[in-house]
Symmetry: D2
Subunit: 251 residues, 4 copies
């Protein structure tokens, strides 16, 4: 039986939003209506909600050895879904963090990846990403130069990821992706061949495409907010306090 | 040379605003303009700012043995003022927490006490409290029945503290107080006599007054927000985003 | 490709050896000759050494949410073997702890289980346990009434586990075991049927045998020391300081 | 009323005995006979026992912001003596650590200082150090070149401290000292004048003597073991397991 994993890279130091007294993934942002009682919500719970809506049945957090407040907070499971924790021993960028989860994933498993300090809509976004292939969930944004802009062809296949490039050729940025364990291993092998030099996902995927790999870009995202900075945090507070703002941002 | 202490009772479990991944005293609330760079601000930093404005030259946090994130966050000092940490071994209410700091204070020292999950104005409030005597900084509030309402006579002396009483005789509640180490010791002895049964400050002070002790109520507070609940947290966000709201709340 | 897991249940509170300032699994015990330099060794490193000698290629620690010092100490891997961490949310005994790792194991995987506060010889003990079936590594002991004594028939199959029974019918106690992911799942289903009432492994295995399950008892252990008590700790210090004592204990 | 402080510098990183899963001051070493039940003993509890035997009524630990396991372990008090915690913000040597406690000490207070990773005899050693003056408790040792050897004149006054010098002129090393808050402040001022360059106590005291300060060397120590290295740890285990060895070491 193959599993459906959600991998949550949460090992980063959060230097863009310091000092915090805790891991930036645990920043309170909005609330849950928890039955009769409202309670604070950690920013990562937005991503977890989306992963659960997308059908994942296992979560793997990748943490650094010091960020154990994440374990104390989330513990054994989220809803009914069991959580395990892998460790990125030393800071080494997002690719290295993601591959820290690879040893625990089987080739036939499906893997959903998202960033724990982002809030995006629609909640069911992962459902637009098909099983069995590598695909990115794309979001329209007014400032694609701050992110990984994804250029797709007429069939929806990714041609190039433009990493924080001035005046990129697309205003669509990726906010989440999905792939099989097999493709995850292929990416890992490629990363090793490239001497582990890719810190972020974009350049590694470009190399993967150059080798003949394919990936789809699915333009079904609506709103994407990076909460990892103070400005993003404030924007997220605004988005959450007035959901009508979503249409405005997404338009 | 006598010292001017700020005592910060931060040992409570924060059951009114759970779950948080960290001590509730470290909840981010607004920002500091830190020279060139804005940075997040922990709620307790509002109280510390007020203590520094009031001239304290030593801070003593009282924490529980588990709330060590407070030490990692604040460390050795705030500004130029050295911090030490006392420990309340077991949950035992606010009085017990405060008296955990008593062994480190001398009779001639001045002591400012405030609550770390509150935000109040004016920032220089402690300056209205005189040296050498026991006095409370009072704030007008629309819902005094939720707090300790302080009834004063025509000279400004406290007659009674009405603890969470329906329809209290005063709309002024205390938000901070100041006393000498000598009076702090007297309160402690009285608390021991009363078998440590006073959990909160109000009932103990009433007993102190009944014994012939005196305390002044200084009606110089303007705005008082209890951030220890979700509703208070939201009110604080509102207060901080629009300082004009202060006059409204204070009127 | 099937994996070979070592599962390390490290969620217990260690009430038999308190107070310690850290998780009892991290108690220093002897040293490693670490190339040029000798360094302290945590008691769990004895079990991990035996798991590595037995060929495991993945480690899963089961911890409680508070025992995060284990993650800070071991981090991402031991030698070349990746570690992941599962969480036992609430104290619930050894069976519950072990099954917290089950969601991350595949049916075809092999699983080695040992106790992190024990030291036993020979180091290569796990190699005596065959793939593809449920088997226990048995150790002779002078006080089998303190442990799970394992009664085997003439073919070496387990007939009964006598849990802390006065005058047990065997002086052989189990110190480690091995089984497939498939059998691990069967045990879990049985445990659920029995309303999760088995706290320790012995009674659950007896029920498994009663249902027609089989397990082998392999009498290849030589020395077994339970380090989870002060007396055991001292015995372990003695064993390690004079390895000749092993023959004495094992005889 | 003046206080009698015990200051425990526990902010060091313990690089001589790594890796440990916890602060080196919490290394288990021997046991307490705790009424009916024996329990493990942290190495620092030897120093605390000696401070209590010497009459201290306040303890100040100096920790680094990360070494909060010390607070979880010791909490609010040891026996009846209240503990507070000061913080050394950045690693800066022993002098800097000690002076982190200075803001909480009054001029008239007496201060006992010892090192938390040492075990020495006799237990009542601090009682040989008089009130009102600066004095060192000296221990005979076979390897004074590893420590601070203290040269005294015929009246018992310190002439010089020879820091880790080959073939020092004395085989007596200091293991603890006592001074008033006033002298502690004088040392601090001198340290500031010398640009905070003294990392260890010996060179600072030599400068103090050169300025006309005086200190006594009291040769009443018997056994001194530095537990901060693996070899010292083993020697301490030997000393504790066979107290007769003390006479041998002390002779």
């Amino acid at each position: 039986m193959s599993l459906r994993w959600g991998i949550v890279p949460a090992a980063g130091r959060g230097t863009r939003i310091q000092p915090l007294a805790f891991s930036k993934e645990l920043l309170p942002l909005g609330t849950w209506g928890d039955g009769a009682r409202e309670r604070p919500r950690a920013v990562t719970e937005y991503l977890l909600e989306r992963m659960l809506a997308g059908g994942v049945n296992r979560i793997c957090f990748v943490i650094s050895p010091e960020k154990t407040d994440i374990i104390r907070y989330f513990g054994a499971r989220i809803g009914e879904v069991p959580i395990c924790y892998a460790v990125q021993q030393n800071p080494g960028g997002l690719c290295d963090a993601l591959f820290s989860a690879l040893p625990f994933v089987a080739a036939a498993d499906e893997i959903c990846v998202g960033l724990p300090d982002t809030v995006w809509y629609p909640v069911e976004g992962f459902r637009f990403l098909p099983d069995g292939r590598f695909s990115f969930l794309l979001f329209p944004t007014a400032k694609p130069e701050l992110f990984d802009a994804v250029v797709t062809d007429h069939r929806g296949l990714v041609e190039e990821i433009q990493v924080k490039r001035q005046s990129p050729a697309s205003r669509w940025v990726w906010g989440a992706f999905k792939l099989t364990g097999r493709d995850f291993s292929r990416l890992h092998e490629l990363w090793i061949e490239r001497r582990r030099e890719d810190e972020y996902v974009g350049t590694l995927v470009n190399a993967y495409l150059a080798q003949g790999g394919t990936a789809a870009g699915i333009q079904r995202g609506e709103v994407y907010v990076d909460v990892g900075t103070l400005n993003g945090y404030r924007e997220a507070l605004r988005v959450l306090s007035d959901r009508s703002v979503i249409d405005e941002l997404a338009s």
